[in-house]
């Protein structure tokens, strides 16, 4: 397989030798079982794992999660850490256009059985209160000065304006504010695209789901996270919208020039990058941080509309329903983190594109409440089957720079999904199974059909077997709100 360069380490781990392609600086490591591996090879995603291994200053390995699939440049489900002290680079392609695309889960004290008769009313309220769809504009129009504040403050801006609770901030990655953001590094075009999109869901694979906790796997950790079987929870999946897309586009050009300036040899132009410590690298990081803060603010505002909708539908204050944030985490991001490299603790620039940070127990970066058990990891599945809450592990820190999967991972192209599945039929079939669907576009709905995705159960099982994360709870969808 792959010229004999792919070596099986275990049933869920494979190594792609760096001799596979001339120019690879490190091996590739793919966490997958035989079926997921076969899909990844067919999809040519493994070639992209090899291409990422060309990045200057990459350490340990170019890593792929079990939900890996073909992306542009980086595979989706890819993790790459570079060492800034060794000329390590930062690459906008390793973050993606939807900078800080991520997920949050909000818990309640409510059992589904107590509120089941009100679910339709809740979905109706969410459908009205959550701005969604392509080009959706929010109820919050921001001027340039306010957008610059969002860039620097992140979710804290939303809380200060009354869109969210102060205690939410502890349960957002980076306490809701990503450091080192500099709005002067962001173009006017990005500000223009971002001006009326804070607090909007967007379209594509972004969604909001009303879910029930179907099964708890780890009672102890679930209790710490505030989860129990039969509980009503809400999941939100969104990102930095057009603001982040424009920042990525702007800096790809900057990095494209940097590749020539620094004389890098890369197998794919979309892997354009610059040394972390260079002007280009620092400028991109400062702009990317603005987009991360925009996304964190966006999801906090969406969380506010979720609380508002619950109050409208159930006619009770959110405090009495115990509507609190379990965690909010990005899966498209580059961050500076401390990791063990050959026995030495180093600060690395960790790119996660379609991969989720999954810190094990003991990390100071985690909220005190979770420090003993590890970080909650939120895995949105497809809209017909299930989503998961996982917890990070110490083993995952060693094996994959504390990373795990980010979802089910696509297996069918969007065009194929549209050819095979009609949005209206899909809506009917989901509704026949008791899953209510609110979608602005039947065409976009068809693209996100469950059949277009891998089996999320298999993906999280591989993550657990590989030691990257452990299952805490399985969530079943009751209603989906999409753009």
């Amino acid at each position: 397989m792959l010229g004999g360069k792919l070596r099986k380490i275990s049933d869920v781990e494979y190594v792609l030798e760096k001799s596979y392609k001339e120019g690879m600086q490190v091996n590739g490591v793919i966490f997958a079982d035989s079926e997921l591996l076969e899909q990844a090879i067919k999809d040519k995603a493994i070639e992209q794992v090899a291409n990422v291994a060309f990045l200057p200053g990459i350490v340990k390995a170019s890593i792929a999660m079990p939900d890996i699939h073909w992306g542009y440049g980086f595979p989706i489900g890819g993790v790459a850490a570079t060492d800034p002290e060794q000329g390590g680079v930062i690459s906008p392609g390793g973050v993606g256009f939807d900078i800080s695309c991520g997920v949050r889960v909000m818990r309640t004290d409510l059992y589904l059985r107590e509120v089941e008769r009100h679910i339709d009313r809740l979905v109706d309220a969410l459908a009205v209160n959550i701005p969604k769809g392509v080009g959706s504009t929010g109820k919050i129009k921001t001027k340039r000065k306010e957008l610059e504040e969002i860039c620097v403050k992140g979710a804290r801006w939303a809380v200060e304006k009354g869109f969210g609770w102060k205690e939410d901030l502890d349960y957002i990655e980076e306490r809701g504010t990503f450091p080192n953001a500099d709005p002067s590094k962001v173009s006017s075009k990005a500000f223009e695209r971002g001006s009326d999109q804070p607090g909007t869901l967007g379209a594509g694979n972004h969604f909001l789901e009303v879910q029930v906790v179907e099964k708890v796997f780890d009672e102890k950790v679930a209790e710490v996270f505030g989860l129990f079987e039969g509980q009503l929870v809400i999941m939100v999946h969104s990102g930095s919208r057009g603001f982040g897309h424009q920042i990525c586009t702007d800096y790809l050009r900057v990095m494209d020039a940097a590749v020539r300036k620094y004389g890098f040899k890369l197998p794919d132009r979309q892997l354009a990058c610059a040394p972390v410590e260079s002007k280009e690298g620092k400028d991109y990081f400062a702009a990317m941080a603005c987009a991360v803060n925009y996304a964190l603010c966006n999801r906090e505002i969406l969380g506010h509309w979720v609380r508002f909708s619950l109050e409208q539908a159930l006619k009770m204050p959110a405090e009495r329903m115990g509507v609190s944030l379990i965690f909010d985490v990005s899966h498209n991001i580059a961050k500076f983190e401390k990791h063990n490299v050959d026995g030495k603790i180093k600060v690395l620039c960790v790119h996660r594109k379609g991969a989720t940070r999954a810190f094990g127990p003991g990390r100071e970066d985690l909220p005190e409440k979770y420090r003993k058990v590890g970080q909650p990891v939120i895995i949105p599945g497809d809209m017909g089957s299930a989503s998961y809450i996982l917890v990070g592990t110490k083993e995952g820190e060693e094996k994959a720079f504390a990373s795990t999967c980010h979802g089910a991972g696509r297996v069918m192209s969007r065009a194929e999904a549209k050819r095979k599945i009609r949005g209206s039929e899909l809506k009917s079939s989901l509704e026949a199974r008791g899953i209510r669907v609110v979608s602005g576009s039947m065409s976009l709905l068809a693209e996100e059909a469950p059949e277009a995705y891998k089996d999320v159960n298999r993906v999280v099982d591989v993550c657990e077997k590989a030691g990257l994360s452990k299952k805490v709870a399985k969530l079943r969808p009751l209603a989906v709100v999409k753009g």
């Binding site: 992306g71 542009y72 440049g73 080009g135």
Partner: protein
């Protein structure tokens, strides 16, 4: 170029990728290849026949590092305008191609009760990007992040 109509002498192929969508265009010359690639992008986003030409937007871009960069910049400018101004387009006309591009887009404000968005296109990427002269004219290949 009216993107809602078929034009003789052009070849357009949509490429399927797991997560994203690509296009390949062959056109008689560089100017019309840019227009055809622009139209392919607009038709990915919306049924352009549902759009009326009510507003005109001017595009001025350049200089570029190479032809690929020109195509990348041109298509991303269309995406930026559509998103930032909340407009949908029907026509693309490129009036000058040298070290710079001068072009016009025509369309109207996005109206959710009239226009059905087929695809959210986030950006044109550098991945597998090609824009080059071939025997039959000009060839363009672009993968979009959707």
């Amino acid at each position: 170029m009216d993107c809602s109509k078929k034009h003789k002498g052009f070849t357009l192929r949509f490429l399927e990728h797991t997560a994203d969508v690509g296009i390949e265009v062959i056109a008689p010359d560089k100017k019309s290849a840019l227009e055809a690639a622009g139209c392919a992008l607009l038709n990915l986003i919306i049924d352009t026949s549902s759009v009326e030409n009510k507003e005109k937007f001017e595009i001025n871009l350049g200089p570029f590092t190479d032809d690929g960069d020109m195509l990348f910049e041109f298509l991303n400018e269309i995406i930026y305008l559509a998103d930032a101004k909340s407009v949908v387009f029907r026509s693309v006309s490129v009036v000058e191609v040298s070290e710079i591009i001068k072009a016009y887009l025509e369309g109207e404000q996005f109206n959710p009760s009239k226009h059905i968005i087929k695809e959210q296109v986030k950006a044109a990427t550098y991945h597998q990007l090609v824009f080059e002269k071939i025997d039959k004219g000009w060839f363009a290949r672009v993968i979009f992040d959707v």
